[in-house]
Amino acid sequence: MTQHVLEADHVSFSYSRKGPKVLNDVDLRIGKGVKTAILGANGAGKSTLFGVLNALKKPDEGRVLYQGEPISYKHRDIIRMRSEVSILFQNPNDMLFKPYVEQDVAYGPENLRLPRDEVERRVDDALFAVGMSEFRKSPTMKLSYGQRKRVTLAGVLAMKPQVLIMDEPTAGLDPQMAYEVMEIAEQLHRTGVTVIMSSHDTDLTYSWADEIHVMQHGRCVYSGAPEPFYSDKAAVYLAGLLPPKTFLMNDALSGLGASTREPFPKTQTQMSAKIAANPGGSFGTLYIHKVDADTDLNELVSEHGLGDIRTGIYGLSARRAQDRSLARVDYMYNGPENCTMNCMAGRDALLLCDPLMVDSARNSADFINASGYGDIRVEILN
């Protein structure tokens, strides 16, 4: 049986007594360690739901459970819960309380009453994780929107939450930053954090989320795997959403009789592999090299004699190592996907990868092999 971290048990909520119900009998459960996406159009109640889940708002009806226990709304219990459940707000300007970056990132840990050196360490780590180390002493006012977003993400990471709720984490970000945020979300998932994100970008969440909850006019109209929901076109339109492009294309192709509907490709690479499936062809090997933060990448690449093949990078420690050794990397973004694609085309590829992220990194290759669209050898190097 799956354990639930957060549960909304028939929750209703409205801002004023006679006002409309912003949440109407919402009943959903979020499993521990399950990558969860809350989908819905603007004004469907996603942000309000997060407020209720984090005890910012008390439901008019129903209860909210954390780790199986109803929230008591007593100051001490709420403090304890919030030290474990964090929200990343959509607009970074809402979360900047301090004039300087390091002060702001330290705000959460300081409120946790942590010792000074622990706070320092957490600020360091968090700023690195979002790639903002060099801005440590900068005034927050001088930062751009994207940089502010990173700082607020660092501020939340520094609290080391067990559950991280991200409200529209990629809204307003350029594609590379949006990708980085998704990679951080994946990394957090691999370190055991339950990550919940709200979005109306179905393309983006489709490849990431295991489970989706769909909000529509304050109601939760669907909970479960994404595919059954997207198959019901009318429901998708009613919820104010559009089906992900990958899903649409796969659906259409299977309609043509060109392929079977399942397995569902979730990423661009999986989709391409499915369309151009060529089981008899020749395939490259995907070398996934586990990399620690202090590995010298140049040395490592030459040691294995892999210098002349395409190289991608994936995960936090790999990025830190790359940052230090300034090694040549072909794919700074979408590393696993691009490397897998190379293997499909018969070329070997090397992915420098955070040890925690290996399973995520080989996901597309495994999908292709298991579905019989190709035969990519995956070799994990230590």
Partner: protein, 274 residues
């Protein structure tokens, strides 16, 4: 969400929205002044009734909690205030009640008792009237009437812009307080104060940034130095003036005739054995 938003929403949905704002203002002011001009309790009772009727009409017979609360709050404050007045009568007059209440020396006289009631009714009537005006006239309408009163243009523009930005800043401030909660900003009183400070500073920075950006976007929309109004408000007709003065005169007359008609001391005497 907050009282400010609720009042605004009320004003825009009021059935009195279309009435000339200046007319409403004139009526309310006249009633307030008349109430102060007479010593009769009857007049504040009448103006209080007018206030309640206006409010009931404006909200379509459903006086919302926020207004009822406003009046109730006024009543509570005024009970305390008039209570204080009533127990501090002139020492030279005979006392209805003499003694000690907590650390107050009580000397209640007939005059002080009646005066306290008069002030109480005046105050409650005043609050009710002003609430009925506030709940039926959005700030931009008020600004309109100020414009037609030849108030300096800059001042009126400022009022309108403050009004517009007050909501934006309020929205921001409330969200920031939520964000502070999420980051344990209320873990202890000192932290709470710091978080409030942070939210204030954040809102302030936001207002600066907004102002800076607005300057450019105003230029984009070909701003010429003043904020034009599309739908000019209904101007006050002579009927308003005539009606208001007639009503004021009638009330003044009634006040004149009814001084001492209702003697609160008489009404209460049997219960207190005065």
């Amino acid at each position: 969400m907050s009282e400010q938003l609720e009042m605004d929403e009320l004003a825009y949905s009021s059935r009195m929205l279309d009435w000339a704002p200046l007319g409403k203002l004139l009526l309310v002011m006249a009633l307030l002044i008349v109430g102060l001009c007479t010593d009769s309790i009857v007049v504040p009772l009448i103006t209080f009734t007018i206030g309640i009727i206006l409010m009931a009409y404006s909200t379509n017979m459903r006086i919302p909690t926020i207004l009822a609360l406003g009046i109730a709050e006024a009543i509570v404050i005024m009970v305390i205030g008039s209570g204080m007045i009533s127990i501090m009568g002139n020492e030279s007059e005979p006392a209805l009640w003499d003694g000690q209440l907590l650390w107050f020396k009580v000397h209640m006289t007939v005059t002080s008792f009646n005066k306290a009631w008069l002030i109480f009714f005046r105050a409650v009537a005043g609050v009710t009237l002003m609430l009925s005006f506030a709940s039926s006239t959005p700030i931009p309408h008020l600004a309109q009437s100020l414009r037609s009163l030849r108030c300096p243009k800059e001042l009126v523009e400022l009022i309108v812009l403050i009004y517009r930005y007050a909501f934006l800043l309020l929205e921001r401030f409330l969200v920031m307080l939520d964000a502070a909660q999420c980051r344990l900003g209320y873990n202890g009183p000192m932290t709470a104060i710091k978080s409030y400070g942070g939210a204030m500073a954040g809102t302030f920075i936001f207002s600066m940034e907004l102002a800076e950006k607005s300057e450019a976007s105003l230029a984009c929309r070909n701003y010429q130095g003043y904020l034009p109004i599309y739908r000019l408000p209904r101007s006050m007709s002579w009927k308003w003036v005539v009606f208001t003065f007639a009503l004021a005169a009638v009330l003044l007359y009634i006040g004149w005739e009814t001084v001492g008609l209702i003697d609160m001391e008489h009404i209460f005497a049997p219960y207190f054995g005065w």
